[in-house]
Amino acid sequence: MARKDILGLYDLEAGEIEALLSDGLQYKALLKRGERQWSELCGKSVVTLFYENSTRTRCSFELAAVRLGAHVVNLSMATSSVQKGETLVDTGKTLDAMKCDVMVIRHPTGGAPRLLAGTVKAHVINAGDGMNEHPSQALLDMLTMKEHLGRIAGLKVAILGDIRHSRVARSNLYGLKKLGARVSMFAPRTLMPDGLDRMGAEICTSREACVEGADVVMGLRIQLERQKAGYFPSLGEYAKYYGIDENVMQYAKPGALILHPGPVNRGIELTAGLIDGPQSHIEDQVLSGVAVRMAMLKMLCQEERI
């Protein structure tokens, strides 16, 4: 059965993830060769509905839709009906009545895209909901891995940082496990939530153990307000005891990929040397993002074209 929405990698089958990655890889190769225009979404309209600020994810989705030939409308919810008190359900119904084909939603509350998807006839893509999921980010991470390492199955991926508040970590865990990778995690105990082992993660008690033998090392962004909320004493201390530096990277496989969902705090999650060094694919992840979002849009819209 055709999928109506992409709400998270928890719900996707391994085969669907494989298909998205393989489509994404093709788009990425073509983008690199200079192609800019496709017609898969010709005549469709895509609305980006962002209840939370974002520059790169929104821009990436909009470019992906434009490249596929769709019309794109963006709604900055911070400056629209929300301030007039309109609910998410009512906004969704309104956009549905305007015959919008795809809604791309970013929202500070986990589960909001599901609520929208249950309300509207349009396809819904989750562009990040609270601390729940960020499927397109995990797919672009996996795309980068697949492109450079040739596979996902059997890889060891180390994820370090603010796991508790990270939708990126959750989506990566679900997707990577489905495709047969190992996922190790490390965070200050204050930022490591319960139950990740039950979801298949290997919970580590040191940076070194987490990174040991890893093919991929992923740093997560630390929000500055976490310090004020009492999760750790200072950014300096965070960098010293929990950051990823050259010494920690010694434990990874030689040439291991360094990834980060961005924007990165230089010298905190990762040292500047690593960010700008040869192992870093942080910049290359951005193009992977456009490619994989094209694959997501195509997946939802393709069968309607027949």
């Binding site: 359900v89 509350t109 599901r114 729940n132 939530p193 319960d194 139950g195 039950r198």
Partner: protein
């Protein structure tokens, strides 16, 4: 009027009897088939002493969109309840005799069962100064509660317990350390991690349970703990009871029927405070009911309008509309499925014990007692369908669940206030 041939649940067992009521009281209890006269043939039905729910939100005054005294009491009698106590977090808050008087008058006018207001502990539930406790008692308040939150200041809480005792009132304590629950919407555990919803830990509830137990013990006064949901909270109460602290406690059907597994699809109807917890908590709540640590079952009926629930999980209101499912869920889980409670024990949890805790007449079937009766078909299986609730609140995580035990008739002071069509 005669109620003939039902299996009647007495304190010490179940016997088939005829009951005669007169002037609102139970006038005679006789062997089945011996009483003549106008009445009801109830062979095959079970009669419980009129059920009592000591923890209900009627929402009136101020939130009539969610529920009114009329619809709430209609929901109560449909659920088999003959007496309910209503919480003071209305608008205005029940913190003076005027609001108490209003609720009592309104209940007399449009209510379907007996309604007993609970007053706030502090003025406006702001936690700063004591509410008009003496005046509320004189107007008919039966207990005090800050339900929805705890009184933050321990010294003020101690004062409240002492002053309330002068008026023969008990504090019913909602236990929640606000510093641990701010922004939290579910229980912290596997499912909060899975959904990314913000969870609070058991200590948020336990710390305040412990504080209220310490206050009660230090002051030598009774205290009642509302809606216990944690295994560790059950244990704190069990230990306090063992050393003689005058504590009573309640739990709700959702804490022994559901776990936090129910939140995984982000259904806002599963959002309740305290939150649904884990299997070990659910089992401990059941054991607490069985061994008497938990004295009674209350629904914490918290009706909401669809607009308050059909929103993002974080924004949704806390609470479950519970009056119409409380009995069936309790009977199904505690008697039928697990055999943890006998029928007389279930009647104690849902009638005699709450009556005793807040000092109400009723709670058992005996000559001279109020003719409050709940007639049930224990064998009838039915499916929870919120569209059929008479409560305005259709918010229930039990929608679609199959349960046993259907209320057929509810008698309040000898008058039939509800009968299934």
């Amino acid at each position: 009027m005669i109620f003939r041939g039902a299996d009647v649940v007495f304190r010490d067992g179940v016997r088939q009897c005829d009951l005669r009521t007169e002037n609102g009281k139970i006038a005679e209890i006789a062997p089945a088939g011996t009483l003549e006269g106008e009445g009801w043939d109830l062979a095959g039905r079970t009669v419980f002493p009129g059920l009592i729910d000591m923890h209900v939100h009627l929402r009136e005054p101020g939130f009539e969109k969610k529920e009114t005294i009329e619809t709430g009491t209609m929901s109560a009698v449909k659920g088999g309840f003959t007496q309910i106590c209503c919480m003071p977090n209305t608008k205005p808050v029940v913190d003076n005799k005027v609001v108490v008087t209003y609720i009592k008058a309104r209940a007399k006018e449009v209510g379907h069962c007996k309604v007993h207001p609970i007053g706030a502990i502090t003025e406006g539930q702001r936690g700063e100064t004591l509410a008009a406790i003496g005046g509320m008692k004189a107007a008919g308040a039966v207990a005090l509660s800050e339900d929805g939150k705890s009184v933050r200041n321990a010294s003020l809480m101690a004062s409240a317990m002492l002053y309330a005792a002068d008026f023969g009132l008990k504090c019913l304590c909602h236990c929640e350390d606000a510093s641990l629950t701010e922004g939290k919407v579910v229980h912290e555990g596997y499912y909060s991690t899975r959904t990314g919803l913000k969870g609070s830990i058991r200590a948020a509830e336990d710390i305040l349970i412990a504080r209220e137990l310490c206050l009660a013990e230090s002051l030598g006064l009774p205290v009642h703990i509302c809606h216990v949901s944690t295994y560790s909270g059950v244990q704190l109460i069990r230990e306090a009871k063992a050393r003689g602290v005058q504590v009573t406690a309640e739990t709700c059907p959702h804490y022994f029927t559901l776990t936090d597994e129910a939140i995984q699809d982000f259904d806002p109807d599963t959002k309740v405070n305290p939150p649904l917890r884990e299997e070990r908590d659910r089992l401990a709540v059941e054991q607490g009911l069985k061994d008497g640590t938990l004295d009674c079952i209350a629904s914490d009926h918290a009706p909401h309008h669809e607009d308050d629930k059909n929103v993002e999980y974080d924004l949704a209101a806390f609470g479950i509309s519970g009056l119409e499912t409380s009995f069936a869920l309790s009977y199904t889980e505690l008697v039928k499925k697990t055999g943890l409670l006998t029928l007389p024990a279930l009647a104690a949890k849902m009638s005699a014990n709450p009556a005793k805790i807040v000092g109400l007449a009723g709670g058992e079937i005996a000559v001279g007692a109020p003719a409050d009766l709940t007639v049930v078909d224990l064998g009838e299986k039915w499916t929870v369908n919120p569209a059929k609730f008479v409560s305005k609140g259709k918010n229930t995580p039990f929608k679609g669940m199959e349960v046993y035990g259907r209320v057929k008739m509810t008698v309040v002071d000898g008058e039939i206030k509800y009968r299934e069509d």
